[in-house]
């Protein structure tokens, strides 16, 4: 967890502000590894990273996680607002024309999302680990139901 992330979560805790955490995964990336070169895969990752960044605010964080996953942390964001952002990102990526050699490629994303009112009673690290576990489970649920879905982990305290 970066210092900036810790700072943002701390601010949310101090001011009892909501925080949304979204785990984003490029669908079928394992299959893509079979059919695209390493350079192309890197281009795809960078393009998706860039597309997501066009729809988030300065105070938000996008953290690449490896394995075609990105963790998006949205301070001061309710679950409702976070869902709206995920829909925008998903639509943007699906409609993007990836400039690959000869073949058009459509990329879809699956996402797990959770939003919290932060809990000052818990350690900041425990709290963040809790977020990660919840979005991981939500993402698994999304992928079990079929790719390109967004699954929500209900708001909890």
């Amino acid at each position: 967890m970066t210092e900036e992330v810790v700072k943002k979560i701390s601010q949310s805790r101090t001011h009892h502000l909501p925080l949304a955490v979204i785990l984003i995964e490029i669908d079928q990336f394992e299959e893509m590894k079979q059919i695209f070169t390493s350079d192309t895969l890197q281009e795809i990752l960078e393009a998706v990273d860039s597309l997501i960044k066009t729809h988030i605010r300065k105070q938000d964080f996008l953290l690449p996680q490896g394995d075609a996953r990105f963790l998006l942390i949205l301070p001061r964001t309710s679950q409702r607002a976070a869902v709206a952002i995920t829909e925008i990102i998903r639509a943007e990526v699906v409609s993007h024309s990836f400039a690959l050699q000869l073949v058009p490629l459509t990329i879809t994303l699956s996402m797990g999302l959770t939003a919290f009112d932060t809990d000052p009673a818990r350690s900041i690290y425990d709290e963040f680990e809790g977020y990660l576990g919840k979005v991981e489970r939500a993402l698994t649920k999304a992928k079990e139901k079929g790719n390109t879905l967004i699954a929500l982990k209900k708001k909890e305290r």
Binding site: E30, E31, M32, Q34, I35, F36, T37, S38, T40, L100, Q101, L102, V103, P104, L105
Partner: protein, 233 residues
Amino acid sequence: MTINLLHLTHYPIYDQLLLEEALLRMDVRNWCIINEGSLQSIVMGISGKKEELIDCNRAARDGIPLIKRFSGGGTVIVDENTLFITFICQKEIHDFPAYPEPILRWHEDLYRDVFKNDLFHLRENDFVIGEKKCGGNAQYIKKDRWLHHTSFLWDYNDESMSYLLMPKKTPHYRQQRPHNEFLCRLAPLYSSKQELIDNLKSALNARFSLETQQLEDVLSTLKQPERQATSLV
């Protein structure tokens, strides 16, 4: 129009090539031959020079048979994870001219229905998915008949690929890529070889009348005198 289907499993590639050559030269029927894997072997095109294409010492040390096939094309190492599909046809059953490019295009069209993947296409002389090669082709065209065989990479062993040297002439799209950046395994993309074979049979049924034949019934073709260019090197 009838296509005779011969579906083999783990039939040695050398024997398959002898059979294909015999069916090309001595038979007048149309054939689709499917062979799910072979003993490990290295197969070169008719004009290939083994010293330039193969790590001969290593292949000899490891007892890998070297085969020169009757058709042109490049060098492949094949094993139980190679899926071989060959068509042998009378020119007259198709409405395209029997030249290499139209024959390749006909196969591309057919295999689109097999792979059911928008990223599958013909690139130079290879079948590719996305940017990587999943199948290599070779042809033999004679007066009234042609043969086109494809080796699809269901899976491959990285180490086995090192028996093959980087050939002087490679497809332009390869761009000096090593095997692991150039070749595509089909196994992670499809549930089973059977899925592809079922798709192939469906695609053929949509185009032809399909008649299944047994190996025993076609082996007699091998006994007829013919010119035989396929050889062990």
